[in-house]
Amino acid sequence: MIEHLPVLLVTVPIVAALLILLLGWHDSRFCYPLTLATILFQFAGGIALLIEVMREGTIRYYLGGWAPPLGIEFVIDTFNGYILPIVLLLALATAVYARRSVEKEIKPEKIVSFYVLFQLLVTGLVGMTITGDIFNLYVFLEISSIAAYTLIASSRKPRAYVAALNYLVLGSIAGGFVLLGIGNLYVATGTLNMADLARLLPASYGLATVHTAFLLLVIGFSIKVALFPLHLWLPDAYTEAPSAVTVLISTVMAKVSVYAMFRVIFSVFTTAYFVETVPVTELILFIAAVAIVAGAVLAIAQEDLKRMLAYSSVSQVGYIVFALGVANQIALEGGLLHILGHAVMKGCLFMVAGVIIYRLGTSSFSDLKGVAATMPVTCAAFALAGASMIGVPPTIGFASKYYLVLGALEAGHWVYAAVLLAGSLLAVGYIWRFIEVAYFSASSHHEGGDHHPAPGVREAPLSMLVPMVILSILCLVLGIFVDPLMKIVAPAVSLLLGGA
């Protein structure tokens, strides 16, 4: 049983998705507990796999018993062993959070299909994370993408259709690039297994085919992770999607895409290729720095909480890609830490936005004056996660920033380190928009004497509050206990830098 865990993490949820569909037809009340149970199972499995990897080393699972390169294998090493629990933790938190939010934001007749797609999206992402076969990666990528397009469109707002279509077009182009890149790799080596590719590719590093493949894959994934200036699909998609979906795609999906990018660059092409053969690190650093600044500036200019957070994601992705550009041990540790940190804090922040929409029906700053008085816990969660976003010690956001700057300075990138630091100041600019409006909104205080934004507004329901508060506390706890965390992250980075 336990040795089949990798494949069970993918197959069980697919079966569960079918079950949700069948049972949900009968009675839609089945959907939620089934989804929750499945994701709980996956989460437990993810943790178990991480423990196993930390203890025993890399786990290889041959699908159907066919050994690679003929068969497809699932590989769990320290890198994706680290990513997998993050993905599932956020999926779990979102699942708990989703129930009340979905009741309000999605038409009742669509709730069954919402849970089915939710399940498929998570499963696709889990598959992307654990597969050791690059074509398999593409298939899971498309499964999760299609689920995401549909989930975004499940909102009651008609604008969501437009956002989803936009995302669909750009996402499909990205998928096409990835597919084409994989084809080129296959032409160059005759294999699709990632470990095999890493072994065979060095012989053909000079070939134009390999360069083309690298370029196509990097561009494809750059669209998927919304790296500036390929982020155009992101703001609308994040803003218009139902709150629970926004949480899921902004954290889990974005992070898995980053994972895939790292995996392909480091485990398929190896550091030697992209640092020496095609010296693109300088370019990547430049793009990342532009992303950090531009995303933050755009975020500051927004008048809507959810939209502001969406642009903040554009900026934060820059931090992670920045680590890629520096490509030394410490910076990558910071990057990997930020994958976790940003998932947790952005998850929390979008949950806050969702709760506010749930209670107030809007997330426009002008309607949120003094909201902290009526929703104190929600706003406290925002303040804590926001502090982490800015990088106030001792939060997780500070730890990753510290590592990134340290790594950049060690590599001699003085200017870029300065940009990184400036970027965190810009984060103050947009996080504080909400803090000022929610806590210190002058008008409500002086007109009414006390903070009362709107009659009847109460604190969020418990099932939305709990995951949100847990995530915000995690921002702090992870930041304080960052050293034990590094015992997982450091081997993962060594693995990446050491090639496959």
């Binding site: 074509f135 593409y138 298939v139 498309e142 299609i146 397009y149 549909t150 469109a153 008609p158 604008r159 259709y161 437009v162 989803a164 279509l165 669909l168 077009v169 499909s172 182009i173 998928g175 096409g176 597919l179 084409l180 084809g183 296959y186 032409v187 699709l192």
Partner: protein
């Protein structure tokens, strides 16, 4: 010059795939009608499919089926075909989702061209 020509002619399948891709991308960007955009996307994807199929081909090769004892033959590489079968399924699903979104957009806004849609979205 001859070498370049030679290289192009011997890899003309690549060239064709690229030309098809560009046509698809052009339609995707330049066409106003959302359905035509989706058709562009389809052309783009099909170009990639063709690319896979063409590089799998072996001159004079036959389908990889089990032959009776004593018969020898060159097979074309079956793996890309299998891969593309999967990719086609993906493509069809994407098209289906895309078309249904366009239907919904038409129901909501009553327009199906990009400029008109932009105007409608801004107005609401």
């Amino acid at each position: 010059m001859e070498a370049v020509l030679e290289a192009f002619l011997s890899h003309y399948n690549y060239g064709m795939a690229i030309i098809l891709m560009m046509i698809g991308l052009y339609a995707l960007i330049a066409k106003q009608n959302l359905v035509k955009k989706l058709i562009g996307l389809n052309i783009f994807q099909t170009a990639i499919f063709l690319f896979y199929i063409s590089f799998a081909d072996v001159e004079g090769g036959i389908a990889p089926i089990y032959l009776p004892e004593g018969m020898e033959a060159i097979y074309v590489n079956p793996l890309p075909h299998v891969l593309i079968l999967t990719a086609i399924v993906v493509g069809v699903s994407v098209t289906a989702v895309g078309l249904s979104l366009i239907v919904r957009i038409y129901e909501e806004y009553g327009v199906i061209d990009e400029a008109g849609l932009l105007k409608m979205v801004k107005r609401r």
